[in-house]
Amino acid sequence: MNIQTASQINGFLAAFVLLTAFGMLAQKRIYSLIHLFTWQGLFLSINTAIVGYVANKHHLYISSILTLSLKVFLLPYILHALIVRLNIRKEVETVVNIPATMLIGIALVIFSYHLTAPVTELSTLITRSTIAVALATVMIGLLMMITRRHAVTQIIGFLAMENGLFFAATSATYGMPLVVELGVALDVLIAAFIFGIFFFHIHTTFDSLDVEQMARLKEEDYTE
């Protein structure tokens, strides 16, 4: 595989990562959201392996396998189990309607392209053009956390943001040092467990995972 094809495949995978990010922004059903998140992890993992091969950085293979096991198998499984245990069926509610959210998403892509243009010009790596896509993925994850009311969806937004950061590290500097990446992976895993525990607590207290509920004080329980 020569540099030319590798950079072409890299471009395609970046486009797919962006596409899944937009897909998550538009998706209302929580199961499909998790599927999209799984796909994003898969694209990210393949991309990391290819960059590792082209740049001849062997530690990228390890982080690719780490991404695969964590973001394609373990995290979706945990989220899935959570949804089954908490019996969440209904469609996700959004604060802003979906076409408007997508337009904001497009604006964010343009903004991050503008923001990363100087960095891209300085860089000499073959993955330099995907930095803008990585930043856009981070921002779209953030947008998803802002526009969704449901706690599980917000967590998926958070994880998508982390995907974007990982992608940015791969495309800007051929990945972070392995120690850092292992640390981040562990953090994400621990975070997922803690979120799970929090979900159970929120669910038992409020009988719902809608975060709007938390804005109200429940005084009637203490009237006696």
């Binding site: 072409q8 596409l19 538009a26 076409p99 892509v109 053009s129 995907t130």
Partner: protein, 312 residues
């Protein structure tokens, strides 16, 4: 001189083969749904029957109502002269580019919507308002998808686009892939196919395009139906020009026209299969979900354009 012959040939093919293509799609659809089909040439018999019938005209029909069928037919035939199907050597393609093409379709739609409201029946007006809603969302997406390809080829002339993509060979580019997906979604919406509109429906409340032309009869209806068939044909030809112009004859190669004709027919056969698979696999959408469908098309087209700037 050569160009004019090719131009005439192209328009003749468009007028002659479009009903057969529609027949092919309907036949495939019958097979997919386990029904007996009326054959590939049934649309010709339908058109002949409609031409031999008298026109029933409402008392309050104005000139717009009588003029629209001829205008629809005329604009589509003119569009057939712009889209390179057999050769890129088209005299008309030099005077009119792809924006004109979108404009021609818009004129036909505008007058069809007016004629839907002209008689004053409830269904006609409902159809017109729905059609304009779909159009207002589909047209920007279509222009966006086409502009992505134009940016890549640095021209809005369809002949030039076909030449550039043909000589470049098969190069996988994310921007082209996105634009192609967007174009498929828009082509479904523009031609009133499932999941946007059902061309075979008999239930007036769910109609979009059919509701506008409910009042037409006789040769007026024949012309409008024929124009619809040609529009479907043209969208296939247009997508072939923009995304897979293989087999098309270049300016310096008039001998390539027969090969191009064979390639065109092959592409039509395959596109028919793809169209039928899409139509059989999906159900018609609720009208108010169309904004999401066409929003997705616009998003795809915009992502195509953005990935052209970012990734290429």
């Amino acid at each position: 001189m050569n160009g004019i012959i090719v131009e005439t040939l192209q328009i003749a093919i468009l007028i002659g083969i479009a009903p057969a293509f529609t027949g092919w799609v309907r036949m495939l659809k019958c097979w997919m749904q386990g029904r007996t089909s009326a054959g590939m040439f049934q649309p010709y018999r339908d058109l002949a029957k409609l031409f031999s019938k008298d026109i029933v005209l409402a008392h309050n029909a104005s000139w717009i109502f009588r003029f629209t069928p001829y205008l629809c037919f005329g604009t589509v035939v003119l569009a057939g002269g712009i889209v390179p199907m057999l050769s890129t050597d088209l005299p008309l393609a030099l005077t009119a580019d792809v924006i004109v093409l979108v404009g021609l379709f818009a004129i036909a739609r505008f007058f069809t919507a007016l004629s839907g409201m002209d008689i004053g029946t409830a269904f006609g007006g409902m159809g017109s308002s729905r059609e304009m809603m779909v159009a207002s969302l589909a047209e920007p997406a279509m222009l966006m998808a086409i502009f992505t390809v134009s940016l890549l080829c640095k021209s809005t002339s369809l002949s030039r686009i076909a030449e550039v993509i043909y000589t470049a060979g098969f190069v996988a580019k994310p921007s082209l892939a996105f634009a192609f997906i967007a174009f498929i979604l828009i082509a479904l919406a523009e031609n009133g196919r499932i999941p946007v509109d059902n061309p075979a429906t008999h239930l007036e409340l769910t109609m979009i395009h059919e509701a506008m032309i409910l009042e037409y009869s006789g040769r007026h209806l024949a012309l409008i139906e024929w124009a619809g068939m040609m529009k479907l044909f043209l969208f296939i030809a247009l997508s072939s020009t923009l995304f897979y112009p293989f087999g098309i004859a270049g300016t310096d190669n008039p001998a390539g026209v027969p090969v191009a004709a064979v390639a065109l027919i092959l592409k039509l056969f395959i596109s028919g299969v793809v169209l039928v698979v899409i139509e059989t696999g999906l159900a018609k959408m609720r009208l108010f979900r169309l904004t999401e469908f066409l929003g997705a098309a616009f998003l795809m087209a915009t992502l195509g354009m953005l990935s052209f700037f970012i990734l290429e």
